[in-house]
Symmetry: C2
Subunit: 547 residues, 2 copies
């Protein structure tokens, strides 16, 4: 029997979930609170006006609903304004990953069908080279942090601030289908072209509402509340800066945008603007910790959320010693991104550091509305006992509904009706998710999933080892067996069996399964790496097959 | 040009906003946190199991998707379980207002098409009388707080706890359209039959996500965070107990349900269970403050939210003296209900009480996603200057999309595409909403809206006045003029012109417009009242017309 569904009465407003709604409350709660970037400093009332002005500027540039607007900028107030104005006129905001190779940048801009580009002076040289390959682009708007914008052959429509100043400060943003695409960006693997993901207004509104609750309501991990001051240390082109600019704007908190990343300047901004909450990948946080300014600054009171990669224990200890409140989140480009965050009760918060570390470094507990579990090769549920490893699959209201114009990879992503994270994980009986490996690097040995990352981590503790990679090699009896490739430290030697002996101590201590100890260790001179410096395990496996 | 909408790929899960999703996180964050009612005390893990058991019990009673299940209970753990289990199987939860007259209760149960009734022992006598008029009801489940359930002629299917104990603790709740009706209840005016409103899964999920943010993120009004302990003092049949049971469950906070309202017992529960947050209408809070147990108890640390009627200044002062953090919310049966809440910055929080009062007693600031403004008779916008009065109209994702099976009143509710609150209000330039009067009681004089409630409030300060009503009477020159009806205090006398003189001091002080002073004052022996004790202004106006 069907559920009861009642037609709305004539005139009833069927409220669509649109990004414009996220602007309503911040201004009301804190109209005079500040948005800061470089010399720019203005109120939420002005933010609302500037978003209206930008909408007019986009319209004058011929951009309307269904068009795509690319942004190439550092983290700035302008980027924040584009987060709102572009989707609010019904257009798509393409977050260009300016760190890709020029060819890849061109590919993404062609594939996303960009019609207009907002481009910072620093990226003009790149864009001048790419422009001939972008026939769909109808114009450029120049973003400049100096009084004298850089000269360029692109013949831009104008400079951002000048165009805004000349535009009307009122705009009636239209209603439209909440499933309209609001944003798009590209995710890169080790191989193949970048893959495009799209997020709708509905998805971003739901992600934001859930994120504000997650970051505010739990006393043990209260990262973003009305009196906090927010500064991202994640590029804003990277998965909506984890969705926090939308959340911060909804709440009406002070926002500080650091521009091009310079650790010393970011620490000064922390100090001078009273920043309390930031987020960034472990390498950026490590750079912050090690910069000169950090040595002269009291960092206690800074709440830092990391994600995108596993933090090292050393870094977390260093942060704890400086009084930093450190937490971890988990998500993907395909997941908007937030799926899990560290969770601690106030009681756990008071535990000695040693006991807090596993809680602070784990991927964490799934946030509201996120449904997830582990599956094995056959798609069957894997036990949540803290030890068993399976692929993490997920459902949430804000997951990419496929890869843009790539039916095959889309079907893989959503095989079985759950989104495949590609991550091998374990889940404790208390519900804490631990990411163990990329699924493609997991070694399937005798029906067990052996995580290469863990073996690598333990092997790297051996003093003779400079670099290590563990991959699965075919085995008649066990399907696969782990094999270790090792680059020795300068002048170091490794006796046969020494690494296995080293690993057996962890087996004895219950930290490693016996079947995870590789029989074969291969000393190599160099380790194959990808363009971004990660181990290229695909290549390693291919080379091993050719033996 | 249309916006860009991309079809989800094959297999992509299009996550519907269903009430079952609200259960995911509370259990994960605080599986051992407690739900308390009387002698019952169990964890969130058990709550989840009990909701599964109840779903089986409902199924065994022949209830499926599209059916309607009525609940007649005090605030209890059972009611909380029904908040989830009934909608989660696709059925509609009818919150029966047991305070209506028996005829009205019967009307609502017929009109809602109830199929099963969960009924507390205390309401068996009523239901035994009504049963013959409810041919659609296929069965009864008895709710009992005693070891020996009351005997009844209704032949119930069984007693709630016994049925749950015998049922399976696992249930796979289905997916269905997020626009499916989840709840229904009836709102009564001074005339006519009760009007039914319905709320969908989508509406309740959005209301909940927004409420958790609103109650957690603002330091000046932090009512509900993970370490709080929640106890409603609003009937759970009344507009979803303001939506807080859903919000509390999402967060995983301890919940205490007080059963039948007994002020002394509620104060003891506050003390013994460590309650920190409650909400109730002013009359209930006043009863709490005045009860014997309150005199013996330290009430500092209790955060109280009121709404449903304007709090009196005297009550608010009394609460402040006891150290209670007091706030006001605003909403309607038609609005799920939350539209506005008090808002204070931490700085305002530190102001002297006199300056805090207007902030704590106002309807407050619109919460996230709520769009509202004031309109005049012609539907034109009224200035938000803190003085001008207009009808408050609103849009939000959780508004009733009409009155159930009442096309005419539905069209009135949504005239012009905005929901009419029926409230006359002013809005300050800072965005604070002040409710001034019911729109039908506003006196339209010379193009100005004069609020009867304000004049009544000022007249009631005169020592000779025991009761007062101000209504508009037709006037050739000004359309309407205010007229005051007064019941004198015992042995008091009122000279002609004395009341006008009394009011002129407020005109001089700028608190009242000159044209709000009634020329005509009529001394009466008794004041017409409705069945619930409110001034019956409709009858007063009718009687005056017959003069």
């Amino acid at each position: 029997m069907p559920t009861k569904i009642i037609e709305p009465c004539r005139g009833a407003y069927q409220y669509p979930l649109l990004i414009k709604s996220l602007l309503l409350s911040g201004k009301r709660y804190a109209s005079q609170q500040e948005i800061v970037h470089g010399a720019m400093r203005y109120s939420y009332s002005e933010l609302n006006e500037r978003i209206c002005r930008l909408a007019h500027v986009l319209g004058a540039a011929g951009i309307g609903a269904g068009d795509t607007v690319a942004v190439m900028d550092w983290d700035s107030h302008r980027y924040l304004e584009a987060y709102f104005a572009v989707p609010m006129i019904g257009a798509v905001l393409h977050h260009v990953n300016v760190r890709l190779s020029p060819d890849q940048v061109a590919y993404t801009m062609q594939h996303a069908e960009d019609n207009l580009v907002l481009v910072h002076d620093d990226f003009l040289p790149l864009l001048e080279v790419l422009a001939p390959a972008l026939p769909g682009v109808r114009g450029y708007i120049q973003l400049s942090d100096t009084a004298q914008p850089a000269s360029t052959s692109l013949a831009p429509l104008g400079e951002y601030e000048a165009l805004l100043a000349a535009a009307d400060s009122q705009y009636e943003f239209p209603d439209f289908d909440e499933n309209s695409v609001a944003t798009t960006f590209y995710t890169t693997g080790t191989t193949g072209e970048p893959k495009g993901v799209c997020f709708s207004h509905r998805q971003l509104v739901l992600h934001t509402l859930n994120l504000t609750t997650t970051l505010a309501a739990y006393e043990g991990i209260a990262l973003l509340r009305s009196e906090d001051v927010y500064m991202p240390m994640t590029p804003m082109f990277h998965v909506h800066a984890w969705g926090v600019p939308y959340a911060a704007t909804l709440l009406g908190v002070k926002q500080v945008y650091p521009g091009r990343y310079d650790p010393d300047r970011m620490v000064r901004l922390y100090r001078d603007e009273g920043v309390t909450f930031s987020h960034g990948v472990p390498t950026v946080l490590q750079m912050i910790m090690n910069c000169e300014e950090a040595g002269k600054t009291d960092l206690a009171g800074w709440k830092l959320l990391t994600g995108g990669a596993a933090p090292t224990e050393g870094m977390v200890r260093q942060m704890a010693e400086r009084g930093i409140q450190f937490f971890t989140g988990y998500g993907l480009s395909e997941s908007c991104p937030v799926l899990c965050t560290s969770f601690m009760t106030p009681q756990e918060h008071d535990l000695p550091l040693e006991q807090q570390l596993p809680l602070r470094m784990a991927a964490g507990v799934p946030v509201g509305l996120v449904d997830l579990h582990l599956i094995d090769d056959q798609g069957l549920r894997v036990a949540e006992d803290g030890r068993s490893v399976g692929e993490l699959v997920v459902r949430a209201p804000w997951l990419a509904q496929g890869y843009y114009r790539d039916e095959h990879k889309s079907a893989q992503l959503w095989q079985g009706g759950w989104m495949h994270t590609g991550d091998a994980a374990s889940i404790t009986p208390e519900g804490v998710v631990h990411i163990r490996d990329r699924i493609k690097d997991v070694i399937k040995s005798g029906g067990e999933w052996v995580c290469s990352a863990q073996i690598e981590s333990l092997i790297s503790l051996h003093p003779a080892v400079a670099e290590v990679a563990v991959v699965g090699v075919p085995d008649e009896r066990w399907d696969e067996r782990p094999m270790a490739l090792v680059v020795l430290a300068p002048d170091a030697e490794l006796e046969p069996g020494a690494l296995q002996k080293h690993l057996m101590q962890f087996v004895s201590a219950g930290r490693l399964s016996k079947w995870a100890v590789p029989e074969e260790v291969c000393i190599v001179d160099t380790m194959p790496k990808t363009s971004v410096g990660k181990l290229d395990k695909k290549l390693i496996r291919e080379q091993l097959q050719e033996r």
